[in-house]
């Protein structure tokens, strides 16, 4: 392992339970207390770009989970052979390969989704969460722990972008997962009643506002203060 690697390997007993308390923490910590989006403020670009609707957001979330988990796993396997001086390029090559795989698979099996997400799948490469986890965790920990860590971080990212997408699609397009909720509600109040949608929510500005509110609510609850 290279001398520059950031974190010291956590010493584990050989017979540690498959989901011990420490390992559960690896997954649960990034969900709220150390969330990559709301606390570390990483991956904001894609959180703004893809969240106008729930469906593409879900596909994006699955793609990010796949890329983070797989790249963490692969890099962790190679961590003792990767030369320290070129480790960033090695990480980038692995991540780029995985992202291209996702893109190709989408193109073959979900062409409409491929068109809709277009550049943003490719831009997973530049999502700081991916490289961040590789540098901070996978380079210094065993494969299984790295997979859990990657899964936790990606899940933390996913639920935030899904939450943002939920509000944006509901308020901006009056729908959830393409189901026109506003139309149903409007029809309850008679034929002349229509709920107005908010065009601001469809533009990236809407995502900023929703994200800001989520961060605000979360930090009020957890009492987290930036140093």
């Amino acid at each position: 392992m290279s001398a520059e690697t950031v974190e010291k390997a956590i010493v584990t007993k050989s017979a540690e339970a498959l989901l011990s308390k420490r390992r559960k923490k690896l997954i649960s910590d990034p969900l709220v207390d150390d969330n990559p989006v709301t606390i570390q403020v990483l991956g904001i670009c894609s959180a703004l770009a893809v969240t106008t609707q729930m469906k593409p957001t879900l596909v994006m979330a699955i793609a990010v989970i796949f890329v983070v988990v797989m790249s963490n796993f692969v890099i962790s396997l190679m961590r003792n052979t990767v030369p320290g001086r070129v480790r960033i390029i090695v990480q980038l090559a692995v991540v780029a390969t995985l992202v291209t795989l996702v893109n190709e698979v989408l193109k073959a099996f979900a062409y409409d989704m491929y068109k809709e997400l277009s550049v943003f799948v490719g831009l997973i490469i530049t999502n700081c969460i991916v490289m961040g986890r590789l540098e901070a965790f996978a380079m210094g920990n065993k494969p299984y722990d790295s997979v859990l860590d990657g899964f936790g971080s990606a899940l933390g990212y996913s639920w935030i972008i899904l939450a943002v997408a939920f509000f944006r699609e509901l308020l901006g397009s009056g729908a959830v997962f393409g189901v026109p909720v506003y139309d149903y509600i409007s029809s309850l109040f008679g034929p002349d009643f229509t709920l107005a949608t908010n065009g601001l929510m469809v533009s990236p500005v809407g995502a900023f506002m929703i994200l800001g509110i989520i961060i605000w609510v979360q930090r009020t609850k957890t009492g987290y203060v930036e140093h």
Binding site: T81, V82, V86, K107, Y111
Partner: protein, 254 residues
């Protein structure tokens, strides 16, 4: 440890080869499926100029293919409106003509596919002629299909697509609401001159009394200009074909 230049270079080469093989392998395996997906998407776009997007969205890929087979026939014409069936000894069909590739050739050498929308199973009972469009938007290519009624003058519908226009601004050309603004407009003025349909600057103005103008997209004037140029250019390229169809329907009407 393990930090010698030889080690680093060897490591990089091995990694590159492994990842390269992985990627080219995937591309080989998925290539045919991607081609199918693109062909299907193309058919959906052509049909999009003719029937509503919701209707297409409700169809399975098989149904789209079957519908396309039974309702759409194709011809390929050259700039003079003459039908082309083979070029350089290779048979030419509308499916093999890549409009984007043809766009780069001088217009005299280009091939122009025409998609003829007809009643089910009866290619002579034509309802619309669908012509492809291709041009430049603000950031990247834009393309689409325009459906003309049998008078070769009235726009029956249009689909527009783009590679990289700004979301929320130029990308709105894919909105069905924007595309519906073209329906019912005419491409020839009273003196019989081709004027196409022009998207105007600014948004929210009622152009229902001007047969060659449609409401613009606020904040996307350059994309709108790209659409205008694309429409004008391609209708011009097809003008010989359009004229020939026009005179034949006029004769039939007599």
């Amino acid at each position: 440890m393990q930090q010698s230049n030889t080690y680093i270079i060897t490591f990089s080469v091995i990694l590159t080869v492994i990842l390269g093989l992985l990627l080219s392998g995937t591309s080989q395996v998925l290539g045919p499926m991607q081609k199918e997906a693109i062909a299907l998407d193309n058919k959906k776009q052509i049909l999009g100029a003719l029937i509503s997007g919701d209707e297409i969205a409700a169809m399975s890929p098989k149904e789209v293919n079957a519908y396309y087979e039974s309702r759409v026939s194709t011809v390929v014409v050259d700039i003079n409106g003459k039908e082309v069936t083979e070029q350089d000894g290779v048979a030419v069909t509308a499916e093999t003509v890549d409009v984007a590739k043809n766009y780069k050739k001088p217009k005299e050498e280009r091939l122009f596919p025409v998609y003829i929308y007809h009643a089910e199973g009866n290619p002579d009972d034509v309802a619309n002629y669908v012509l492809p469009l291709y041009g430049a938007g603000l950031w990247n290519a834009i393309w689409g299909y325009i459906a003309l009624d049998t008078d070769m003058n009235t726009v029956g519908g249009i689909t527009l697509a783009h590679a990289g226009e700004t979301p929320g601004l130029g990308a709105r050309i894919t909105d069905s609401e924007v595309q519906s603004r073209y329906v019912g407009k005419t491409i020839y003025d009273e003196s019989g001159k081709l004027v196409a349909v022009e998207m105007q600057k600014g948004e929210g103005i009622d152009y229902s009394n001007s047969p060659h103008k449609v409401d613009g997209m606020s904040g996307a004037t350059i994309t709108g200009k790209g659409v205008n140029n694309m429409l004008y250019n391609y209708l011009n390229y097809y003008q010989a074909y359009i004229e020939s169809k026009k005179s034949s329907t006029a004769v039939a009407a007599l």
